[in-house]
């Protein structure tokens, strides 16, 4: 499927974020397997098109993006520095989390990217709150706040309460559900009944359904949702079907994923689809994609190398005070 010409720039931006994310995550995977990363590694493999489009449809410095565990492409597309990633995974004190928190929990709240907690759904009201604050400050015009969640996370009360609040306040919130058919090992049919996209109407929100591994479709649907929110049409819910092309985390082989799904349309790698679409739309030439990959590899290698030379936290020098304004108690 060819993509309309006026999408060229946004398609390419999304694709570059996708490529960088895939290359970066391949590297994270091998660092994990080599024992260089402690704790969990959760990859966005197979979800780069959806996430990358979302991240690149947003405007850094203006919009808000609260990514979840499989949003490396969106993070990169929204301008996250590669070093933020490597430093957080490798526990460098130079990173935004300084070794205090790890992996996907990183964020740059001052750059519009809140740092997630693990509890699924908890970020949704936070983005709503940021948008509400911007309205109170008179700075909401043309701003969009976006966040992602999984098919599993949509079962949480936090998700529900936040969507409802966003709808009541008519906030420009875009919530993207990446339905990768599983929550950890649990398949859709044990997570919810019916169709997640039907949830939108229940909140009085506009709903969108996207093919999550299809760049062109994501551009249309996710792009459409972001644009609608930006135009002041209130909160938007996007549900995208796709498949996770890795385990839940790198400790998991995902053996429970149904073979038929893997072989079916959802099992197609979004990278292949995107490359094909860019080529057939004439947006890139033969070799461009590979150049992007090569460039990404170089940058990733550089970031990892730099990070590995950086100090990890020094427990003795650590400031054990969780408060800012109030002194630590001595225990």
């Amino acid at each position: 499927m060819a993509i309309a010409a006026d999408y060229q720039e946004s398609a390419c931006r999304a694709a570059r974020a996708m490529v960088t994310a895939r290359v970066l995550e391949d590297k994270l995977r091998s660092l994990y397997k080599a024992g260089k990363i402690v704790g969990g590694v959760y990859l966005g493999r197979g979800q780069e098109a959806l996430s990358g489009v979302l991240g690149t449809q947003l405007i850094p410095g203006k919009d808000v993006f609260a990514p979840l565990i499989r949003d490396q492409a969106g993070r990169t597309g929204f301008g996250e520095d590669l070093l933020d990633v490597t430093r957080t995974y490798l526990g460098s004190v130079e990173g935004p989390m300084r070794g205090r928190d790890g992996n996907i929990h990183r964020g740059r709240p001052d750059k519009g990217m809140p740092a997630m907690i693990s509890h699924l759904g908890a970020a949704v009201p936070v983005v709503a709150g940021i948008l509400l604050a911007k309205r109170l400050k008179g700075e909401l015009d043309g701003v969009v706040g976006a966040t992602c969640i999984g098919d599993g996370g949509a079962s949480t009360g936090a998700f529900h309460e936040a969507l409802n609040v966003a709808a009541v306040e008519k906030l420009p919130l875009v919530v993207v559900i990446a339905n990768n058919q599983y929550a950890y090992s649990t398949p859709n049919q044990a997570e919810f009944s019916g169709n997640l996209a039907d949830r939108a109407a229940g909140y009085g929100m506009r709903g969108w359904e996207a093919k999550g591994n299809d760049l062109a479709d994501c551009l249309e649907k996710v792009g459409g949702a972001v644009a609608a929110a930006r135009r002041g049409e209130g909160p938007q819910l996007v549900v995208a079907d796709l498949l996770r092309l890795s385990g839940h985390g790198e400790h998991d082989d995902g053996a429970y994923v149904c073979e038929d799904l893997k072989k079916g349309p959802l099992g197609r790698d979004c990278m292949d689809i995107a490359k094909e679409q860019l080529l057939s739309s004439g947006f890139i030439e033969e070799g461009t994609w590979e150049n992007w990959e090569q460039e990404a590899r170089e940058k990733v290698t550089e970031a990892v190398a730099l990070t590995q030379r950086e100090p990890t936290p020094d427990a003795h020098g650590e400031v054990w005070n969780a408060c800012k304004a109030v002194g630590a108690e001595t225990y």
């Binding site: 009201p125 940021i130 002194g327």
Partner: protein, 322 residues
């Protein structure tokens, strides 16, 4: 100024905060035109339209929204309709608000107002004191004003503070506790107060129990005992210095609280005094709390469930006669 009540202090503090600081707004169920279940925000929406916002019944989202707003530099005040319902906001407060600064360096200057404590007939779900739960988690400041002046000043300080604050206000004091004005002695937010000086024993307590302790102390004074009453004011961080100085004077400690007996403020107080002020103690430190059941509905049961001047007096006599 004519006589003012504890609830007036909370309302007036919020009015002035809204007037003086554009970063402040109020979010909660029925806080708008209705003025809140206890009228703590009455008139504020009319005076500050758009900045006093009715929320859906969604405590998790209410806290989450405040966290987000705080990330944007706002200083939101969230009113829970009753402290007990903050169990739904618990995750956002202890895991999200409380951890944010240490993890990211970005502070969350929000205030969660908890209408706390028992009143006759309120039963198990409209009477709880939740300060100990929040205090257990790193990253939260927990306060519990016992006087009209403190209700006013501590709320203003709480909202100004760059850390998330759990502000526990006692429902029993709302209308009963009165003062001539909102003045207090300018103690900083985290300092305890000697409410009543004494020399024979110290009661360390907070919130409504301060008044029950003073009543008990007054009765004991008729028996010749001079009881010192320390009002913690701030539950976390806890002003151990003031407690220790008092124990140094009296040699005897009764830690008094209105919450459930396992753990909590009284355990923390006794524990600190026993560890750091062991040599100051002339008698074993004592604790008095509510009973270890849900808070009963029937007023007769309720009165027996929480400490009273009588039971406090009894405990003190035991302590003094050791």
């Amino acid at each position: 100024m004519s006589e003012v009540a504890y609830i007036d202090a909370i309302r007036e503090a919020q009015r002035e905060l809204l007037a003086d600081d554009p970063r402040v707004f109020i979010y909660g169920q029925d806080v708008g035109d209705f003025g809140g279940a206890f009228k703590a925000t009455q008139g504020l929406k009319a005076a500050f339209p758009g900045r006093v916002i009715d929320s859906p019944i969604a405590e998790d989202a209410m806290a989450g929204v405040a966290i987000g707003a705080a990330l944007e530099g706002m200083h939101p005040i969230v009113e829970m309709q009753f402290a007990d319902f903050s169990s739904i906001a618990f995750n956002q407060m202890v895991n999200h608000a409380a951890t944010y600064y240490w993890r990211t360096g970005t502070p969350i200057p929000m205030t969660l107002r908890l209408p706390s404590g028992g009143t006759p007939g309120s039963g198990p779900f409209h009477s709880q004191m939740m300060e100990s739960l929040y205090a257990h988690y790193p990253g939260l400041v927990v306060v519990a004003p016992a006087t009209v002046g403190d209700a006013y000043h501590m709320l203003k300080e709480s909202v100004a503070l760059e850390d998330p604050v759990i502000y526990c206000e006692h429902k029993l004091l709302y209308r009963w506790l009165k003062a001539d004005n909102f003045e207090n002695d300018s103690l900083p937010l985290t300092k305890a107060r000697i409410t009543r000086p004494g020399k024979h024993a110290t009661v360390v307590t907070y919130s409504a129990m301060v008044h029950e302790a003073v009543k008990a102390a007054e009765r004991l004074s008729e028996e010749g005992w001079e009881i010192e009453v320390v009002d913690l004011r701030c539950i976390k961080p806890m002003d151990t210095d003031t407690i220790m100085a008092s124990i140094a004077r009296t040699g005897r400690l009764l830690a008094l609280g209105e919450s459930f007996p396992w753990g909590g403020v009284t355990a923390e107080v006794v524990s600190r005094v026993a560890s750091d002020g062991f040599h100051l103690l002339d008698a074993p430190p004592m604790r008095l709390n509510a009973k270890d059941t849900p808070i009963p509905y029937h007023p007769d049961l309720w009165r027996a469930h929480r400490p009273t001047p009588e039971s406090i007096g009894e405990a003190l006599r035991k302590l003094l006669n050791f």
